[in-house]
Amino acid sequence: MLSPPKGKFRSLDTFNESLAVGYKLLPFRFIRLDSNRYVLTNEVGEFIVVDDNTLRELVSKVLQPNSDIYNDLKAKHFLFDDDSNVALDLLSLKVRSKYEQLSQFTGLHLFVVTLRCDHSCPYCQVSRQSDDRLAFDMSKETAAKGLELTFKSPSPNIKIEFQGGEPLLNFELIKWIVIEAERMNEVHKRDLQFVITTNLSQINDEILEFARQHGILFSTSLDGPEYIHKANRPRPGDDSYTRTISGINRIRESIGPDSVSALMTTTEKSLGSVKEIIDEYVQQGFHHIFLRPLSPYGFAIKTRWYERYDVDRWLDFYFEGLDYILKLNKDGLPFVEIYASIILNKMFSPFGTTYVDLMSPAGHGIAVIAFNYDGEVYASDESRMLAEMGDKTFRLGNIHKNTYEEMMLSDTLLDALEQSITESVPSCNDCAFQPYCGSDPTFHYATQKDVVGHKAFSAFCRRNMAIMRRLVTLLTDDADARRILMSWVRI
């Protein structure tokens, strides 16, 4: 039997001696959270909320070694001391994971197969055309060139999204593109996915059967209960709501419950009705909602619907919705707000997002590319919306005239990307929310005629800062909310 080794063991204090000589700070940013607290974020988005005094002590390097807050800051890689420097290895690994997707390059390829539409939404951001003018349809030759460019992307995940107008008005071309893309993919071997963004008014059995056979997903618009949806999205016969709902149900029955998702757009009419809108989504069997503001493009500008509410009114709407969704969850109904979940994923996942608006550098061209019906190539969906308003600032080239290399290496793209890196954008570079945010060059160009924009006047900045502050506060102060919000993170 062993003799008791008492005395051979050293106390915790002797292992703390190396802390006595002080610590060094690792890169982090901070911003005031509320009247007496700051939120600190490090380079890879780990965050911690501290009171004013703790922040002062931290930066003055007088924090008490081995105190709880010292250990929290050390383990989250805000500081390091003589006892350990593995933080540097781990941080660099995390930075690499966070930016890894950049190396994959463009995943989302938008094919605007027609600009025609049977709806006449006053907020239409793509400036649709009435539905009898074939001049606004994409030709097979243009589509073929688009596919050629699509498979030039090195990304292992290729998503082809059919956009419009109402893309189902040119279903023959969609069929051709899907079959041709699948044929090309026999050689390219990518993970290939198709989505049709549609108002569902044109859905029929032929389309459903084709979609089922080829695993095509549908994305539609549902703005809320019938009276809001109909007012936002008029069409001849005043039946846009019933057509959308019946389309959703037909897809679910014939393909599967998860084959259709819906997006909402907030209009002035929506503002007081966020609970009704959410309830509509719940009743229609959706498990999530994306509360989205209007964007400053197309008819939304022409009809001035875009100006009818400002960012603060929209935020009231959003937060009322978020609170209501949290209550639904607390009461036993799992339900997700997508925009919050995208930000939460940026907070808690080791990987970056592929959501274009919250990328740095922006997703322009390198996460998404748009092939317009007329063969013009744009850096994003919003860029082609801007182009329909007569401003081709973000035009990368023409499918028939330019090579892939010419477009992807064009100054138009590279300049916008370089200016969209929030790590170096004025007032983003020292903002604590930088790791969670992105830059939307098209938005800032559209609103301020400058791809960077002055953030003090940016609705994008104001909206995101407010939402991120709210999320950090909920995560820190409300254990129930934290549990719910964490369940929205998809690792």
């Binding site: 063991f9 050293r10 106390s11 915790l12 081995n66 250990n71 050390k74 989250k76 593995v86 781990l90």
Partner: protein, 359 residues
């Protein structure tokens, strides 16, 4: 608990040899003569004693001494009753001069642990197998003889210590032998991971290319000095973390092992978050209740906390790991103590009692 070692083996009748053997136990009196010399015959009550085996064992009180002495067979030894679990296919080290018998491997056990060295460069407060600073390189040599005798149907072999990586190239040899001789057996190496902070060593170990090998490595805190205190070694945290990174970079499977006690429970949720944020790519996280063995007895005041009192921290930690889709299990805790939500994560302990070497 089974007693796997004894120094109480006595000869009955005449002896013709006294060399130490690593041999497989057989109860088959008709075993072909060609393989008998690598076997020890274990006699049952009614058996006629066969010749040609290296040694013959009979369980205490099973055969009459006079009958043994009267037979032609020599080198017969009586083994005590507490070794009555020994059976066909088990592998033993037998030293007749010292009367010493160590059961190295039990065929009937789904999990066999091989203690490969008693040396260690950590000195953990709760070590269940207190290290000794001795030259025990003979153990590997014995195991290299034992491995070819093991059953190919063994589900899992655990390599433990001491710190197995202190063996250096000998560990490489051992794992290669396991791979070659037991092509369908899983291997679980319990290591403190520090040696893997050497990229060359790790790359070399990875060349074994074993079909089912997991390194189980403890991380006791998200804070370096607390981990170093628990393992009583300065700089251990950094070496262990770098070791884990190197192993994963070389495509090796890694399990993080956390023993729950007074020094580790408080920051358990923070440790879970640290693992999720920094080591998301590890293959398994095992959270284990404290066992009252080895050093634990001497450090009870610094280690003991009633598991009932750390259920909140345990649940928070498991929630975080589960949320991050990490594969997490709880071992060595009574189900009745566990928070209901945690019960699906509880596993039956997969490790047998450690094989203790008696010198």
């Amino acid at each position: 608990m089974l007693r796997l070692n004894t120094k109480e083996i006595e000869a009955v009748g005449k002896t013709t040899r006294s060399d130490q053997v690593i041999a497989r136990i057989s109860t088959n009196p008709n075993l072909p003569a060609a393989v008998r010399s690598s076997h020890i015959f274990l006699a049952k009550k009614s058996d006629e004693l066969p010749g040609g085996f290296s040694y013959v064992f009979c369980l205490e009180d099973s055969l009459k001494n006079e009958d043994i002495k009267a037979s032609d067979v020599s080198d017969v030894y009586q083994i005590p009753q507490y070794l009555n679990f020994v059976g066909d296919g088990d592998i033993v080290r037998f030293n007749p001069l010292k009367g010493m018998l160590n059961v190295l491997y039990r065929k009937s056990s789904a999990f066999n642990a091989l203690l490969v060295t008693e040396r260690c460069n950590n000195f953990c407060l709760m070590c269940s197998q207190p290290p000794k600073d001795i030259d025990d390189s003979y153990i590997v040599q014995d195991l290299l003889k034992a491995i070819p005798l093991m059953s190919r149907s063994s589900p899992e072999i655990c390599i433990t210590g001491g710190e197995p990586t202190l063996l250096g190239d000998d560990l490489l040899r051992l794992l290669k032998a396991l791979k070659g001789n037991l092509p369908s057996t899983a291997v679980h190496v319990l290591s403190n991971g520090r040696r893997f902070s050497d990229p060359e060593f790790t790359a070399k170990m990875a060349t074994i290319n074993h079909h089912d090998l997991m390194y189980g490595i403890p991380v006791y805190s998200d804070v370096s000095n607390i981990h170093d205190y628990v393992v009583q070694a300065d700089g251990a945290f950094d070496e262990t973390i770098r070791g884990i990174l190197n192993l994963k970079q070389n495509g090796q499977r890694v399990e993080i092992r956390v023993v729950l006690h007074k020094q580790t429970y408080k920051r358990l949720p923070q440790l879970a978050m640290f693992l999720a944020r920094n080591l998301l790519f590890v293959d398994h996280v095992a959270l284990m209740g404290l066992e009252n063995m080895g050093f634990t007895k001497f450090n009870m005041d610094d280690l003991w906390i009633d598991p009932y009192d750390y259920q909140k921290e345990l649940r928070d930690a498991v929630e975080i790991l589960h949320r991050y889709r990490m594969n997490v299990s709880i071992y060595n805790l009574q189900l009745c103590l566990l928070d209901d939500w945690l019960k699906p994560f509880a596993r039956k302990s997969d490790l047998p009692q450690f094989l203790r070497t008696v010198n």
